[in-house]
Amino acid sequence: MRKITVLALMTLLLMLSTLVAAATPSVDASGPKEQLQQTVEAILTVLRSDCPDEKQKNQEISALVRQRFDYQTMSQGVLGRNWMNTGEVDRSKFVALFSQLLEETYLGRIRSYKGQQIIYADAQIRQNRAEVDTFIKNDGVDIPVTYKLIPSESGWVVYDVVIEKVSLIRNYRSSYNDILRNKGMASLLEDMAVKLEELKARQEQPTQASV
């Protein structure tokens, strides 16, 4: 008898918790960890595929990255306080340039991926932010990479990447602020456009096996 009561109670609890879970404003059925993992694995699948067309591969990866990375928030984070003092036109120029720069950087980085194993830790969710710790197993040395995510209409999106305890956005912010202070926004935008051209030229070359 007692057993049945306990069982009934447990069932009730489980049902209740499922109800609560359904009521919480979860953005997607799956959590930040699963969504991030899904994107990363999808990118790796494209990388590993035998498709000879490099351009098409890049486009596919780029689409996947765009879906999971919140470039708008990242750009805002990079400009920090300067975002307020920037006009609407320059803002959108900055977001466009910075998104492309990040993307080219990411594409360049991911090419050096040599099939290392990636381990995902469970997401830590606090209020409406999530952090997912990942470790890239590299010849016995683990490289810690933490993704920070916020929910959006299309699921959890990344707003910062922390590699070896160095936040990418924070780092960009520091150096871009220095450039802004010394040379101003027009000059920064110009530098970014030049750098972007350089990186794009690099991407068009066939991948070189790293020596």
Binding site: T18, S174, S175, K195
Partner: protein, 256 residues
């Protein structure tokens, strides 16, 4: 593989669900995340919130002109001397180079242990000391990281700069050291006492010490996947990027 993953996910979901109401009991209940999000997203105040812990990451760099000069010299040394040597060194098989790296790690564990002790991290000091004992013997002079692989005693670097930071000594200002690269006034000075805690200093004569430092640097570089090259290629101002990354990394290490 796939079914295992699905099973794990399903299990994880079931296990996590009951804890959800608990999580909701924490102060978060006061805020409705969805509404908060809709109002907060992309508004001008967002960065204040999302990157709130970022204030005070200003880089103090009064010697910027001198530092940029040293950075330039180091850059040339890297591309024309160290990197070619490191490439040549790659004829040594990878497992051997990994073992060599472990030997150098092992050789610095007295430094890690001493500084952990100075920072009153007794448990950590014990772990580092045990690592030294196990790896020096069973690990064949440190070639194999037995302590890490089998006992899961993780290596944790501590240096005198971190010890000074632990006792509240500020970093002073950013400093690029010739050949050694990014540092700060505090961490640069701290290299001296760490030098005395280095077993190589006590075991070998001066030329041997220098050669061992050289081999260590070349070996480390040979295992690196062109990270400096990427920074130079991708960043608008590599000097600033390296500086800010170093300071961020250092500040984290001092706090932990």
């Amino acid at each position: 593989m796939k079914s295992q993953l699905l099973l794990a996910m399903a299990l994880g979901f079931v296990l996590l669900t009951p804890s959800l109401p608990l999580a909701q009991d924490t102060p978060t209940t006061a805020v409705a995340p969805a509404a908060d999000m809709a109002a907060g997203a992309y508004s001008d105040g967002l960065f204040d919130d999302l990157y709130a812990d970022d204030e005070g990451v200003e880089s103090h760099d009064p010697l910027v002109t001198l530092n940029r000069g040293t950075f330039w010299v180091n850059d040339k040394c890297y591309f024309y001397l160290l990197k070619p040597l490191a490439r040549g060194f790659r004829i040594v098989p990878l497992p051997v180079r990994n073992g060599l790296r472990n030997i150098f790690y092992n050789l610095r564990s007295p430094i890690d242990t001493a500084n952990a002790l100075l920072q009153l991290k007794f448990k950590q000091a014990g772990t580092q000391l045990s690592r030294l004992l196990v790896n020096s013997t069973v690990g064949v002079l440190g070639f194999f990281d037995v302590a890490g692989n089998y006992y899961k005693w993780e290596r944790k670097e501590e240096d005198f700069g971190q010890t000074l930071g632990f006792y509240g000594v500020g970093e002073g200002f950013y400093l690029v050291l010739p050949l050694l690269g990014p540092s700060t006034l505090r961490d640069g000075i701290a290299l001296v006492p760490d030098g005395y805690a280095d077993p190589i200093y006590w075991l070998a004569d001066y030329p041997t010490t220098l050669v061992s430092k050289g081999v260590k640097a070349i070996n480390t570089l040979s295992l690196d996947n062109d990270s400096y090259e990427s920074i130079v290629e991708e960043q608008l101002d590599p000097y600033l990027f390296v500086r800010d990354a170093y300071l961020q990394h250092r500040r984290y290490n001092v706090e932990n």
